[in-house]
């Protein structure tokens, strides 16, 4: 016999994500989910973003990695709460791992949680963590065709940070194609060109992020 199920396969993750969202709202904490390929520069971008945010907000980081705590160690200089999640090979964070991370944080004392997902352009997009919005980080060396190849991420993201922009003169990256493809996918998307290592373009990005986070605060 056939039994109708009509159930989303990831509904367990969705339900937990909703609970995470409620917990964040209760304590008026905003959470941002950073998604990129490995090596695009998420951690370096966070290193350059945290000091400005820290001036006005209490920031914490949830650091997702398949293995090691190398990224968390790099962020220890800021004296902020950092929770390392090791997925042990799994390619994405899920909402239950975020719930465990919340248990190690004092949400009442926080304003912002920056979550650095496992480096991967596909899998993390399928797992809602309970975040307020997602940021896609792409490095120029990955190529201008990534938005067309990974539409899900770029449709869902609130902004794209195009990192390693200092390498543009040396590589075959068509910035016009890149921006047009992004526009076609998601006309509301903000795009920032940065070089996290040289520190260029970061001001616009951090300023935008601060405003976006404040808007989320007011919405509640």
């Amino acid at each position: 016999m056939e039994i109708k199920v009509l159930k989303n396969v990831l509904d367990k993750n969705m339900n937990q994500a909703e609970q995470n969202r409620q917990a964040l709202m209760k304590h008026n904490v905003k959470m941002v989910n950073f998604i990129s390929s490995p090596g695009a520069g998420k951690t370096t971008l966070l290193e350059k973003t945290i000091p400005t945010l820290q001036e006005t907000m209490n920031v914490a980081v949830i650091e997702g990695d398949a293995f090691t705590s190398k990224d968390a160690e790099r962020l220890q200089q800021f004296n902020i709460p950092i929770v390392q999640i090791n997925t042990e090979g799994t390619c994405h964070l899920d909402s239950s791992s975020i719930e465990s991370a919340f248990a190690e944080l004092d949400l009442q004392e926080l304003d912002i949680i920056l979550t650095e997902n496992v480096g991967n352009l596909i899998c993390p997009t399928a797992f809602d963590l309970g975040e307020d919005f997602r940021i896609a980080v792409l490095s120029t060396t990955e190529g201008d065709d990534k938005p067309a190849k990974y539409p899900m991420l770029f449709r869902q993201a609130r902004a794209v940070v195009l990192n390693k922009a200092d390498l543009l003169p040396y590589i075959d990256f068509d910035n016009e194609t890149f921006k047009k493809d992004l526009q076609d996918l998601n006309p509301n998307l903000q795009v920032f060109e940065t070089s996290s290592t040289l520190g260029t373009g970061l001001w616009n990005w951090v300023e935008w992020l601060e405003v976006a986070l404040e808007k989320e605060v007011k919405r509640v």
């Binding site: 056939e2 039994i3 199920v5 390619c91 399928a126 076609d184 998601n186």
Partner: protein, 113 residues
């Protein structure tokens, strides 16, 4: 490679439904998969073969129904596909669109005795 997580969840939910309906074995699991999900059928099937052992679905077949991406234009209400890689309206050119089909990842039904 989140295919394996998806498969684990498919087996978990199907097992639960089988239990609730007193099925002793599952023969078929029918799964809707939207085109936006970036899932690979071969990896899904490999994962399913490995993970179904010693479960109530040990002899089951996983049938995937692929649903192509369909967007609706919010300006002129046109429904259109993205097979050409374009996510804007082919009629009026608007980029203000909503995904109408393509995000699915649903167990439609299970078959068994």
């Amino acid at each position: 490679m989140h295919e394996l997580t998806v498969i684990e969840n498919v087996l978990q939910i199907s097992g639960q439904v089988a239990k609730e309906n007193n099925l002793s074995r599952i023969d078929v699991i029918n799964l809707d998969v939207g085109g936006m999900q970036h899932l690979n059928e071969e990896i899904m099937q490999h994962g399913f073969e490995a993970a179904k052992k010693d479960t109530v679905a040990a002899g089951a077949e996983l049938k995937l129904f692929w649903l192509p991406v369909r967007l609706r234009c919010n300006s002129c209400q046109q429904i259109f596909g993205t097979e050409n890689g374009k996510f804007y309206c082919p009629v009026c050119g608007s980029k203000d669109t909503e995904v109408q089909q393509g995000m699915e990842l649903n167990i439609k039904s299970i078959e068994g005795e």
